[in-house]
Subunit: 321 residues, 2 copies
Amino acid sequence: MDIASAAGVSRQTVSRAMNDMPDINAETRQRVLDVARELGYRPSRFGRGLVTTGQQTIGLLVDNLTNPYYGELAAAVVADAAGVNMSVLLLDTSRVEDEHAFLTALAPQVDALVGYVKIDRRELDLLLPGVPVVRIDVPSRAGGPHWGGVRFDLEPGVREAVDHLHAHGVRRPLMLDSDPLENPSDRARMMIDTWAARGVEMSVVSAGGQDARSGEEATAGRLEAVRGADAIMAFNDYLAFGAMKTLRKNGIRVPEDTRVIGIDGLAAGTYTSPELTTLGVDMRAVARFAVSTARHLLDQDGSPGRRWTKVGYRLIVRESA
Amino acid sequence: MDIASAAGVSRQTVSRAMNDMPDINAETRQRVLDVARELGYRPSRFGRGLVTTGQQTIGLLVDNLTNPYYGELAAAVVADAAGVNMSVLLLDTSRVEDEHAFLTALAPQVDALVGYVKIDRRELDLLLPGVPVVRIDVPSRAGGPHWGGVRFDLEPGVREAVDHLHAHGVRRPLMLDSDPLENPSDRARMMIDTWAARGVEMSVVSAGGQDARSGEEATAGRLEAVRGADAIMAFNDYLAFGAMKTLRKNGIRVPEDTRVIGIDGLAAGTYTSPELTTLGVDMRAVARFAVSTARHLLDQDGSPGRRWTKVGYRLIVRESA
DNA sequence: AGCGTTACCGTGAACGTTCACGGCCGAGCG
DNA sequence: CGCTCGGCCGTGAACGTTCACGGTAACGCT
C-alpha cells in the first residue's frame, strides 16, 4: 500500500477514507482522498474480495447476443441477479471457435454458470470441478448434484395453438420445419402428432435453416404446397418472418388466406405487419428460477430444494393467427 | 488452505495439481484432485487475482438489453473483449431506479466502464475515482483525462439518405419525430436542414414517443399529412415500423407510394416486409474502439493516443426506400 | 566413494485489503 | 489531581493464491 506512506497515514486510515467509515477526521480523509486521486490509486477488488466474502458472480452463457431472444434472457437474468446483489459476466459463444479454451480463460472469474452450455458434461466437470451449472432449455436432466436446469415444454403451447387454429376452421395446416423431412425436429413431430390427434394431417416443408432467409426461400420454392395450406406453423419466429414475406409477395393475405404462427415470442414479431402470433416462454420466470437455483447450489446449505423445473410455452395471440 | 493438510501435501503442491503445472507426481496430482472434489474445494479467484495481475474486467453499461440495438452492441463488445482476454460485466440500467446505488454495489467489480453512462460526471468521479470511462453516443467530449468516448455523427447518413430519396424523385418528405413540433430533436432538425439545402421543404409529425406503437398511432392520427407525403423519415426504426404498419393498413404501398427510412440499423428491419431501409452505425467498429480505448486508459502507458472518435451513420439500403 | 543430475516437494514472502484490538491525547467531571 | 470517556489513529493478523528458492532422495556416472 504505497499510498498510505505517501499520505503519511496507515493502511487502515486509507481504508477508512476510501469507504466512508467512521473514526477518521474529516480533514485527514480529504487529504487521503486527494493523494489517492493524485496517484491514480484505486482499491483492488481482489484484495477486498479476499477478506469480504460477499459478492458473487454468475457467468451467463449465450449463443449469440445479436439474437434478441438471448437479449431478453440476458436482461431478465441481469435484473434478477442485481436483485440479490450478484453480478453477471457475459459469455457469448457465437464468435468463439473453441469453447474449451474460452471457458479455460474466463471461467475462473465466475462462481456459477447459467445458460446454454453446450460443452460436454465430463469435460466441463474436469475444467471447473464443483462449479454450479444451471442449464436452460435442455432436453433432460443430467449432471451431478451441483447441476440444475430448466426444461422447456412445448406441449401446452402447441395444444393451445392447434386449438386456436382448429377453432378458426384450419384444416390444411403446414409445418415449416428447419430440419430435413426424413428427420424432423422435435417441434415438428409434436405439431404433427397434435394435429393427428384431431384427425387432421399436417404437410411439411423443410427450410434447411433457422433464419428468415431460409424461411423465405423455402416457402417460395414450395409455393404450390403453401397455397394449398390455410395455416403455417414455423419452427421459429425467424422462419415465420420469412414465410410471411413470401406470402405477401405472392398476394396471399395473412391471416385471411393463411394464418401464421411462430415459436420464440420475439418482440420483433410486434414490428411486422401483421404482428406475428407465436409461442413463447415467460423469460422472467426462467431467469428467476435460474438465478435462485444458482444461488441455492452455491450456498450448499444442505437443503436440496428444487434444482430442476419445467416451464411451458404459451400461445401469444397477436395478428397473424 | 484446508485441502493441503487434508491431502497431506503443501499449498504449493495443491496449486501444482490444480493448474496442471510440472514438478508433481502424476499419482500425487490425482490424489489431490480427488480430495479437492471430495471436499468441494475450488480455488478462489480473489486469491489468484491478487498475485497474478492479468485478467481485467470491463463493465458494459446499457439501457435495456431487450432492445436489440444494445444486444448488438453487447455482442460486439464481448467479442472484442474476449480477443484481448478481458471479461465483460453486464450492467443493465433499465430496471434500476437508483443508478447511484446500483453503481455503488457493482462498480467495485470493474476495472473500466464502457457504454451509456447517464450519471453525472462529478458524481461518478467521486464514486469511482480514476476509473476509465468510455462513453458511447455522446454529444460532446467531457470528463477528465481518464475519459473517452465515441460520438455518433448522423450527418453523412442523412446526406446519403436525402440524396437517395431525392434521386428517386421524392419532393414531399415527411419527418416522423419523437419530440414535439415546437422543440424538434436534433435528428429532425438535421433532416429538415438537409432537405432545405436542396430547396425542399419537409413537413413534420410528432409521435410523442420512440416506440412502434407511437409511430403507428401518430401516423394514423395524421393520415392526411401522411397521404400527402412521398417519403417518411422516422426518428428511429421503431417509429418506422409503426409507420409502415399504418401505411399498410391504409393501402399505401411501400416503397411504391411512400418510401420509408428509419434510423438505427436494427436487424429486426430485415424481418419486415418490405425490409426497412435505415441509417446505421458500424457497431463492430464502435465496440473495437471502445474496448481498445478502455484498455489504453487502463494501461496509462504515458502515450496519450486517441481517446475520442467519431463514427458516421451510413445508409443501409434495403427495400422500403 | 564421490559427484552431478533429475524428479519431486516444501517454505518464506508477497499480493492488497479488512477486522479486531489496543494506544494516545485532550476534554470533561468528581 | 485523578479518572473516565470519546475521538482518532496505528498494529498484528488473516484472507487464498502464486513466485522464487531451497531442500531431499534416488539414480547414474566416473
